[in-house]
């Protein structure tokens, strides 16, 4: 498996999608084993590819720009005027994405065999998961923007289908629609950005565009605008302010889907896109500042919302939005390495947390944290792995989130404004607080719903297996921060040199004094959470009476959804009614119907010229002949 054959990776799940979608009724177990076998093959191939990649790096053959291979012209109009290729492009950023996507997808598929057992449309579920993986792999392997856009919409489609998987439920159908429409708004920005870049460079090839943009061939204002539009696509897909509203609602989908699509892979597509274009963003600092502040605001806002949510999955969803904000902050100060590293660790511990919450929901059929509690006695494996995930999310040392979050904070304090650092550090403390709250309310204390507690049971091996494996990954994936790990794997210069080639100074080996501060604040967050929610259950529920206005503000998501609804109702529908009036009265009744009616009126008046009497026609002919003759002789 060399880089030239990377196209095989998305090809396998595409074939599986078609097979399972069409023939799952004929297959034993509705074809789930096929999807899992295919996914396992892809994981194996990714590791072979990884070996090939590191091998070429060791041999000194590695080109920092990566390599663009298996290209053929898909569309070619006007002898090279408008060319769209299919090509795969493999570089360090791709090599971070591939294991994340494939490993989490495999875990989720195995987990789903138990979680989704007995559901209607079981085969269709696995088919769409395969479709999603195919689109996601195409996305990260794509060498040109049109192909990327195609895959971008492909993952959006899979996300839509899976959020609305339980479409019999009104709220699920609404959430699917909301997710699709909201991300579409961003996608339009992405498409405009792609067209603007094509207009300036005449190509869709990502590397050629980057080369043209970094060599100053494009006017800098024009470039700034294009890159901001491109970022608009990332804002929609990665649920950043103001298009973040869809992600909490997306929790209507089956929980394994939330783990795969709405935590680990699809939502980081925006981060991937900005990271992919990071050399260009380094040229347009205004756009980069926008990314920084959008990320910062989103991280803080979602963090506060996670603090009060009563739904175990929604807490995780807010936390995902918040952590994506962290990644964009890193991108906003140009620390691509830190962003990709956090993406890498976050994928594992957040997928773990989602699958853990799925295990709880599967056992108790409840997902409001205020109705749970004490589950540690009944579900030891789920509890242990969930705690590992929460510690990683909170940023407690030795767990993965600590290292990656530390990198981001470090990059921010080196290259960003001081107040931004303070906000992000406060958000990190918030993260620790709500992670602690979630664990305490779910697994500790007294059970608040005795009935649900009595029926709770530990999940089977198909669910706990992936949990344990992801818990291990959520711990060790942070160790990639150490150069020694890279050297132990035989990579000269360590992981940092391989993955973060273009900005090595951003990826420092741990600064222990600084890290101690980060660890201390995370710990402080945990202690605050413990002190508040560690006590009896009444106090936990009583949190809302402490500051009711603030609580209402947070529970209502800063009234952001209300605001958007008001904007849609007043401004957009108002504007639409004006446009509708114009269309109805001016365009239709005056323009289209008016023309037809005028002609109809004249036709009505003129039709009486036809008498049906032969002498009249004969006279007309005679007069006509005389007139024509007079004209012909020039009289």
């Amino acid at each position: 498996m060399g880089m030239e054959q990377a196209w095989v990776l998305p090809a396998i799940p595409v074939v599986l999608f078609v097979l399972i979608a069409l023939f799952n009724g004929l297959m034993p177990r509705r074809g789930d084993f096929l999807a899992i076998l295919g996914m396992a093959t892809v994981v194996g191939l990714v590791f072979l590819l990884l070996l090939d990649f590191t091998g070429s790096f060791r041999a000194g053959e590695f080109v920092p720009g990566g390599s663009n291979v298996f290209a053929f012209d898909w569309i070619n109009i006007g002898q090279g005027f408008f060319v769209i290729e299919f090509s795969t492009y493999v570089d360090a950023i791709t090599m971070v994405m591939l294991p994340v996507v494939t490993i989490v997808a495999l875990m989720v598929m195995i987990y789903s065999t138990e979680y989704m057992r007995g559901e209607p449309r079981y085969g269709w579920y696995f088919a769409v998961l395969s479709l999603f993986v195919a689109a996601m792999l195409t996305l990260v392997l794509s060498g040109n923007l049109i192909q990327l856009y195609l895959a971008w919409e492909g993952v959006g489609l899979a996300s839509y289908l899976l959020i609305g998987f339980y479409w019999e439920r009104q709220s699920a159908a609404e959430a699917a629609k909301k997710a699709f429409v909201t991300t579409r708004i961003g996608d339009v920005g992405l498409l405009i950005g792609i067209i603007l870049l094509w207009r300036a460079t005449g190509t869709f090839d990502i590397q050629q565009i980057i080369a043209a943009a970094t060599s100053g061939q494009i006017d800098s204002t024009y470039l700034t605008v294009s890159m901001l539009f491109l970022f608009g696509g990332a804002v929609g897909k990665s649920a950043q302010f103001p298009l973040h509203v869809w992600l909490p609602d997306a929790m209507e989908g089956p929980t394994p889907v939330s783990a795969l699509i709405h935590a680990a892979t699809m939502v980081v597509a925006g981060v991937y896109l900005v990271a992919r274009f990071s050399p260009v963003y380094a040229e347009v600092l205004v756009a980069r500042d926008v990314i920084l502040y959008v990320g910062l605001f989103t991280a803080f806002m979602a963090g506060t919302q996670g603090l009060v949510s009563n739904d175990i999955k929604r807490v995780l969803a807010y936390s995902t939005v918040s952590q994506l904000g962290f990644m964009f902050v890193a991108l906003g100060v140009g620390a691509v390495g830190a962003a990709m590293f956090h993406l890498f660790t976050h994928a594992f511990f957040k997928a773990l947390l989602f699958l853990g919450s799925g295990s709880v929901i599967h056992a108790t059929h409840r997902q409001e944290v205020e109705g749970l509690g004490g589950l540690r006695h009944k579900m030891p494996i789920t509890t242990a792995t969930f705690i590992v995930g929460s510690l990683a999310l909170a940023g407690i040392p030795i767990f993965a989130g600590f290292f990656s979050k530390d990198e981001i904070l470090h990059a921010l304090i080196s290259d960003g404004p001081a107040w931004a650092y303070l906000v992000l550090a406060a958000t990190a403390v918030l993260t620790a607080i709500y992670s602690t709250r979630l664990v305490l309310l779910t697994f500790f204390g007294k059970p608040k719903d005795q009935h649900a507690y009595d029926h709770a049971h530990e999940s089977g091996p198909a669910m706990t297996g992936p949990l344990v494996l992801l818990a291990i990954l959520a711990t060790v994936s942070g160790f990639f921060v150490f150069d020694q790990v890279g050297e132990a794997l035989g990579l000269a210069g360590g992981i940092g040199a391989l993955v973060y080639l273009d900005q090595p100074h951003h990826f420092t080996t741990l600064d222990w004094t600084f890290a101690a501060g980060a660890a201390g604040s995370a710990l402080a967050g945990v202690i605050v959470g413990w002190a508040y929610w560690g006590g009896d259950a009444k106090r936990a529920v009583g949190a809302r009476s402490w500051a009711p206005d603030l609580h209402a503000f947070l529970v209502n998501r800063w009234y952001m959804d209300h605001l958007f609804q008001a904007i849609i109702d007043r401004v957009i529908l108002g504007l639409a009614s004006v446009v509708a009036w114009f269309d109805k009265r001016i365009v239709n009744e005056t323009g289209v119907d008016g023309g037809a009616q005028t002609i109809g009126y004249f036709g009505y008046r003129l039709k009486f010229l036809q008498t049906g009497k032969i002498p009249n026609y004969a006279l007309g002919m005679a007069v006509g002949v005389v007139a024509l003759t007079l004209i012909a002789v020039g009289g």
Partner: protein
């Protein structure tokens, strides 16, 4: 040789009579006969000019033959229509056959 004016006057008279017949008569048969008169006027014109302008050329004469042929065909067709009309309406008065309108 008879001067050409005589032929032209004859032809014009025939044409005018035919035209009057087409305009003034109401009977389909009479209108047809008037049309025949007009065609005959045209044929006379052809022959007169053919002989006066170039006595060796046949083109004018051939045209006259064509006119006669067309006239015969036209009568054959038109009489058929008139016959149908009469069978249908018990009249050959064209004023009464005016339903082909709005």
């Amino acid at each position: 040789m008879i001067p050409i004016e005589n032929f032209l006057i004859l032809s014009a008279l025939l044409f005018a009579i035919g035209f009057y017949g087409v305009m003034a008569r109401r009977s389909a048969i009479l209108i047809l006969m008037s049309v025949e008169l007009m065609l005959a006027a045209v044929a006379i014109n052809f022959i007169a000019f053919a002989t006066y302008l170039d006595a060796d050329a046949f083109s004018g004469l051939v045209f006259a033959l064509f006119v006669i042929t067309v006239a015969a065909a036209e009568v054959g067709l038109a009489l058929g229509i008139v016959l149908r009309l009469y069978r249908e309406r018990r009249t050959a008065n064209v004023d009464e056959a005016d339903s082909l309108k709005w």
